[in-house]
Symmetry: C2
């Protein structure tokens, strides 16, 4: 009964690129491997014992309710906590009703695609962009366009032209400590792009998983503050409490949130009710600020150490963006050197990272950029891994042909 | 900047019907309300303390790993447990690699739609069918067809004709204790439809959330046993351990599971890692059979009590399907009586149920059927609620016009 055609997959599924990172992470599970490839938060900052005590409280106090079906929008006390916290953070009033709980902010990307992308619509992304967003949107068959980000943000002229000419259904960006580049929009660029003359139908999607992991200050306005009536803002507990619990949220205009809840209901009814209550109990019983401060100062140290090691060991022809927060450093090799060739050599010496071309739709950026994660490796691994990479770059620059060329 | 067009939603989202049940459940939260409307498992059978002890174990033993990102496919020991358990249950060998963990089996419906439905493809459903499946598939813009289920299963002639004429992309069914009718396919119908001459591209989607809640026996072959090479089988812990933890799974051909994992990765990266480990620990430390037996005998008693009350209080012109498992009874009023009119009257007397037309795409079934849930109400509520409904049906049959007519 089966034949060569079977199974007959939809057109959209053929569109979703497989994750190179997923493949590379399989290699990274070898214990001797120094991995700058992943995007994992440091597990030493998961509040394991406090979450265990929160879980015990939730289950003993209200176990039956915590284990039952719940409404799609989420556990109201948690949504209310997020609304109040984010109101202070964003400088405008957010109500609990405008907060939708998600299975990590990744689900927000899928739902944004579901809600706003007809096949053939334009999705305007930063170039490079978050691979998971490309995957999520790809299922809805948009036409992708990248807008180049330089230093303080998107090139204003190109951005205005792209918004005008393409009339994108969505503009997707990560203004704070971007994945993969670690880049942050400055105030000028935020204000400029927020005042662009764009199609009245464009939804702005501001992805902010790293926003709380700032090294210096957090005084820059978020796009949702500047354009609250047309921005879907995605937040997440993944980088600050636990990614394994899969809890993020969306904040946005009420009509968008209402429709997003319908789409979420069709997708999975609701997010884990027990996990929402455990995280809420943790937030009630502990100081989030104190917890965040300890993550911030540790990640800042890690980033500084990686930068210092790069200064010590990388040829001066290699450039990079010094991150003001988040988890990543984006480095650019001299033109002509391929990050993928460096990866082949580095893997042989048990060091891995992600070549930059994987963060573009269609995979092109000159091939000489790469992303390095500093949140997860130990300090010893940072020093040793960067040294190995530096030696390999030096030797590649001296014209030794890479083994796969 | 905003205008009347904004926000400009995709065509697909306009397709998703809002859930009437969602609306009616808002009414059901009033404490004086007797609700036969929901589809909630009885929380007295949630193993609260055992899950609390499992959570404590998981977090103290391996907390950092349980709170970290995990692979999309799920926690391998849990997938392996499910594979072994389901192999015994289904009578053919299932490997852990063929099991994909989901956020409840509802997510399986979304992913099946994403994987197999191009706009305009045919989705063949039972009539009536599970509303959540209609919602999930609707987002992928298929053309829906219903196949009538009579007693032992789909009418074989109509089924063969529909499969041949429509060449559906998917055939979706709940052969065991269906939601909403409680109906179960007999062996003859299972074997007949499994041997139908269908399009080589049709995927069979066997949804089995109630399969473990059988009252008599479980000796009937599942469709995945009869057609393993073309069936996606969806299972769930929601009805037997906890729906709030949102854990279900899909089993199917390897190439389908591989693509489904890619689609899931794009949707939400992975399911709650902590919850998967808690459920696994629960399964290792306790007898699932013993737990299931206590649910089975309780639900069987509840169903019997509801049937007896219906025999006592409903006019003999009302017919119903006596369920052999699951959580629902489907009753049919005499022709001409509207279940929606009965609901209006019943609500005024604090009893609610779901009129049957909500379980059809387009909402037609003659309007005289209704779904009653017996898993969640107390025994006192069952007796009292059925009595009130019976009196109302009697008075409607005596020609008193309903208040909204």
């Amino acid at each position: 009964m089966t034949n060569a055609q079977f199974p007959h997959f939809s057109d959209r599924i053929k569109n979703i690129p497989e994750s190179f990172i997923r493949e590379i992470l399989k290699v990274s599970s070898r214990p001797e491997m120094i991995s700058f490839a992943g995007g994992l938060p440091n597990p030493n900052f998961f509040p394991v014992e406090k979450l265990a005590s929160a879980a015990e409280k939730v289950l003993s106090k209200d176990g039956k309710a915590a284990l039952q079906y719940w409404i799609t929008e989420g556990y109201l006390p948690l949504r209310d906590y997020i609304a109040q916290w984010q109101s202070r953070r964003m400088g405008y009033r957010i109500e609990a009703e405008e907060v939708l709980m998600l299975n990590g902010s990744q689900q927000g990307l899928d739902l944004v695609g579901k809600l706003f992308l007809n096949p053939g619509n334009t999705a305007l992304l930063e170039g490079p962009s978050y691979l998971g967003a490309i995957q999520a949107f790809a299922a809805y068959q948009p036409i992708f366009h990248h807008i180049e980000i330089k230093g303080g943000g998107p090139d204003i002229k190109s951005f205005n032209e792209a918004m005008k000419k393409l009339g994108p259904a969505i503009f997707y960006c990560i203004p704070n400590f971007q994945n993969p580049t670690g880049n942050t929009y400055d105030r000028f660029h935020r204000e400029q792009i927020a005042s662009t003359d764009c199609s009245p139908n464009t939804i702005w999607v501001e992805d902010n998983p790293y926003g709380e992991i700032y090294f210096e200050d957090n005084s820059l306005p978020n796009l949702c503050s500047l354009l609250p009536e047309r921005t879907v803002h995605l937040g997440s507990f993944s980088k600050i409490i636990s990614p394994g619990m899969r809890l993020g949220w969306a904040v946005g205009p009420r009509e968008v949130m209402r429709r997003m809840a319908i789409a979420k209901q069709a997708s999975d009814l609701h997010s884990n009710n027990l996990a929402q209550r455990i995280v809420y109990q943790f937030l009630v019983d502990n100081s989030l600020d104190q917890h965040l401060n300890s993550i911030r100062s540790f990640y800042k140290e890690q980033a500084s150490l990686m930068i210092r090691s790069m200064q010590d060991h990388f040829p001066e022809e290699v450039s990079w963006i010094t991150p003001k927060g988040g988890m990543f450093i984006w480095a650019t090799l001299p033109e002509g050197l391929k990050a993928s060739a460096l990866l082949v050599k580095a893997t042989q010496q048990n060091v891995i990272f992600v070549p930059g071309d994987h963060f573009y739709v269609g995979g092109c950026d000159g091939g000489n950029s790469l992303r390095m994660n500093f949140s997860n490796p130990s300090q010893g691994e940072i020093v040793k891994g960067v040294k190995i990479m530096g030696e390999l770059i030096h030797s590649m620059m001296q014209g030794e042909s890479p083994p796969d060329a």
